[in-house]
Symmetry: C2
Subunit: 325 residues, 2 copies
């Protein structure tokens, strides 16, 4: 990560540190249960959690339009629980063994329990949302989850589809990844009384930022260092998922190299793909798109109130471009 | 099915036929989507649906306390969508290939898509619930789903546990099966303005009826005819699930037969278990418990208003004892 982006992200997180801790307490309350093995499994999956970017976005968006209250903390916890549920289910889809350096639920106790634990996390998040004074989060976030699932189903459906268009690629990642970032920001703003236009501008920031985030994720899956990233890599290729670098390479390659690429994808051979990605500049091309999306995202905030959180959010969004895990 | 029970169930369903059709329309509206392959998968899973017992319970409970309105139809559709979601996920857990004579989602398009389609159905049901005027169904039914998942996780956790107590067996099936019957009745009554006591009495009926339903299901899994039942059987044994007939047999058997039973369960050998079940009367013993539960369930309704629906519900509950599929 570049020093500037790291400093900006730290500044963003520091500005809401106390509220992130309060959101964490809400999450522990929400997920408290005495029934084994649910309790110990929830403790295990709490170790999957990383930077807590999604709850942070709820809180920052809320702070742009007023004081934060307990419902912001609850919604941050709800968004994080939804995120953890999708991680637990994603690891089944990807047959991943590791996440953030610990065993996935499917690896630890089997695919069946992973299905059910994800369902439990979704249901608990929806229950918490249904109990809020504002009806907005329950309506909005359940819709977001349906959108996320639709994107994931489309992705599975397009495995081995070498002809996947860029248009469908973007539709898929906007749904499966960006929709929850957008939802986090929209709900945070809404709870603080932002206008519909203001909440929508933050959601557009989230969509573009989230899309850039997923593109970088897709690049890391091809080029990253597994020990550093802390999760199973090469899973996209193992599942014959056409991600942006591969889509770009396919479109740039000579007919002979396109045939080589198709063979390499069919045999999940990353070793033969990497030189082609470099030769045709496909990684650079994907990175440039991520870069453009972050700039676009930043501009979405230009008409919002000129508060410190707005600048922090714009500056911290750079971090996605320089992440190496 | 005995003639009397069949007539009573038909009478119950006929009394709400128009409303069941309206609930069906609400379900189709709720689940309408233009995105493939989600649309065609939802069409496929609509063929899993059977007697529509759960939506019928919402409607009958509602009718006991007043006129049915659109929100009853919506809640009936929500309950049915939740039920279908659990079926889709259950088939992954059981690795079932068939359900009601059609391919399961996991068999048709893989475990991954089955996970996601179930999630989509849950999210869509919760969204519909969140949009209702009454906040009760969203809060209550999300809690019910969490309870269902807890029961299912406990069940998976207790596979191969030959020492499973009856107490835990009943805890598991009350959660995984009976909780949704209870929820259907409680929500239907609540929407019609029933008192908390009245809704709770109906929920207790649902818990006992649902528990009896699951016991009969567990018996059928050991003794049923696959073609007639229309789904994969023997899955409990294949997953080394200790169901009530097996728990009773274990407790009744001589030390030598108990060893034989444990060997047969470990090797999933239904052929060696069936004679033991008959010899020790374990099937009869489990059936008697189901029978007692249905009588108990019927008595829970004694203090409710003496309307035709109450009698229909009491009489129709008999059907569970005589089902052969």
């Amino acid at each position: 990560m570049t020093a500037g982006a790291a400093v900006a992200l730290d500044a963003l997180m520091s500005s809401i540190r106390v509220d992130l801790d309060l959101a964490e307490s809400e999450m522990q309350r929400m997920l408290a249960t005495g029934t084994e093995p649910v309790r110990s499994l929830l403790e295990h999956v709490s170790r999957f959690r990383g930077k807590q970017l999604r709850p942070a976005l709820v809180l920052v968006a809320g702070k742009m339009f007023g004081e934060l209250g307990r419902d912001h903390h609850k919604v941050a916890a709800i968004v994080e629980s939804i995120h953890v549920a999708t991680l637990v289910h994603d690891d089944i889809l990807d047959e991943s063994a590791m996440r953030r350096g610990v065993e996935t639920v499917n690896r630890k106790v089997g695919c069946e329990t992973a299905v059910l634990l994800g369902d439990y996390l979704f249901a608990t998040a929806f229950k918490e949302a249904a109990l809020l004074k504002s009806r907005f989060p329950a309506c909005d976030l359940s819709g977001v989850v349906a959108v996320v699932c639709t994107g994931e189903i489309q992705q599975v459906h397009n495995r081995n589809n070498m002809d996947l268009s860029e248009e469908i690629y973007f539709e898929i990642i906007e749904r499966k990844t960006a929709a929850l970032y957008a939802g986090a920001l929209r709900n945070g703003a809404h709870l603080s009384g932002a206008s519909q236009e203001q909440a929508a501008a933050l959601a557009r920031f989230g969509t573009k930022f989230g899309t850039a985030f997923q593109i970088v994720d897709d690049i890391l899956d091809l080029t990253g260092d597994e020990a550093r990233v802390g999760k199973s890599l090469g899973t996209d290729l193992a599942k014959a998922k056409m991600t942006l670098p591969l889509v770009r390479l396919r479109d740039l390659a000579s007919p002979a190299d396109r045939t080589r690429l198709e063979d390499a994808i069919a045999s999940h051979d990353a070793g033969r793909i990497r030189p082609l990605l470099v030769e045709y500049g496909a990684l650079e091309s994907a990175r440039t798109t991520a870069d453009d999306l972050v700039r676009d995202a930043q501009r979405e905030l230009d008409d919002l109130p000129d508060v410190p959180e707005r600048t922090l959010l714009q500056q911290a969004s750079e971090y996605v471009l320089s992440r190496d895990r």
